[in-house]
Structures are given as structure tokens and as C-alpha cells.
Symmetry: C2
Subunit: 102 residues, 2 copies
């Protein structure tokens, strides 16, 4: 049990925003794909089955929220997850789901 400190409204909104970002199937799929290993936009399009435009739009949102970063080699842009918190969050969430639902 961690010590609990009630966050102020600003922090509540930041936390809420992070969960909102992850709380979308398309973005979450991209995150899971990147969890395996870094990938280019076109690889993400293929493996996710989403359109190129949609993938780019959602990657931008993930990037603006410090969840992924990218590097460019020629025409290709490779995206990767920035840190491990996301991975931990996802694992806890999956545990929660498996316990609470059928």
C-alpha cells in the first residue's frame, strides 16, 4: 500500500489526460505493436490494419503526449516507446481485467 496524497485539479487533469490517450483502441494497438519493438509508420500500418493517415494522426497524439518518440532515416520514420511506465500500466490493467471479467 502506497501513501496517498490527494492530487489537485491540475494533476487530476494531467493524469486523466494520460489515461484518455491510452484509452483508445487504435492508439493502444499501436502501443502494443511498439512494445514488441520499434517500427516504421508503414510497418505499423500493415500490422495494425489501419490507414496511413490514421496511423500518422494517432502517432502524433502519442508523440505530443510523450509516449512515443521517433527518428528518421531517409524516407522512413521509426517510432518507439519512450519509457517503461506504459508497459507496467498495461500489464496491471490486463491483470485487473482478467480478474474482474469473464
Amino acid at each position: 500500500m502506497e501513501k496517498f496524497i490527494m492530487p489537485n485539479q491540475t494533476e487530476i487533469e494531467k493524469v486523466g489526460n494520460l489515461f484518455k490517450i491510452i484509452g483508445d483502441s487504435t492508439r493502444l494497438k499501436l502501443i502494443f505493436l511498439l512494445l514488441e519493438k520499434p517500427k516504421t509508420v508503414s510497418e505499423l500500418c500493415q500490422t495494425s490494419g489501419c490507414s496511413q493517415s490514421l496511423v500518422s494522426h494517432q502517432l502524433k497524439i502519442l508523440k505530443d503526449n510523450y509516449i512515443v518518440s521517433s527518428s528518421k532515416q531517409g524516407n522512413f520514420v521509426t517510432y518507439f516507446l519512450i519509457d517503461e511506465h506504459i508497459s507496467i500500466l498495461l500489464n496491471i490493467c490486463r491483470t485487473h481485467i482478467n480478474e474482474k471479467e469473464n
Copy 2:
């Protein structure tokens, strides 16, 4: 580092849904208030500053998603968090935010 297993579409949607539930400021505020200790609807209205109707609506969503439960004594209904996963999720998220933003 945890072992990684790519989830299927169904699991992705479940995980996404859970994050979506938490990813709303009003619900998150209620969760934080309940993290301190169980509270009645009217207590939640007072401490959150939200209308009674809004609080009830959002509590229903939290309940439908197995995040809170409730018990009734007379006219009053006390809500409480079901398990500790939420608390862990929130702490990780707060850590993430403090590291990545100013």
C-alpha cells in the same frame, strides 16, 4: 521487464475501455476521493463540487465497469473502490507525469 504477449483485438478493446473510464476528470476525481476512504453520494457531491446528477451518473459508469461497488444504509448509499489495481495504476501514472512534464 515483464514477458510480453501481444493481446488480441478483444483484449485490446477491454484494456482500452478501462483506461477510457479512468481517463475522465470527473470520474478520476471521484476515484481519488474514494481512494482516501469510502463515501456517500452526498459526500462525494460536496467534496467534488459536482452536481448530484453528474455524480450519480459517473458512479454508475464506474460501477458498471467494476471499479467501485456500493452498499446502502437507509437513504444513504456508500461507494467504495473494489480493488487495489486502480490505486497502483494511478501511482504509476503520476510518476510518469512527473518525469515527463514540467
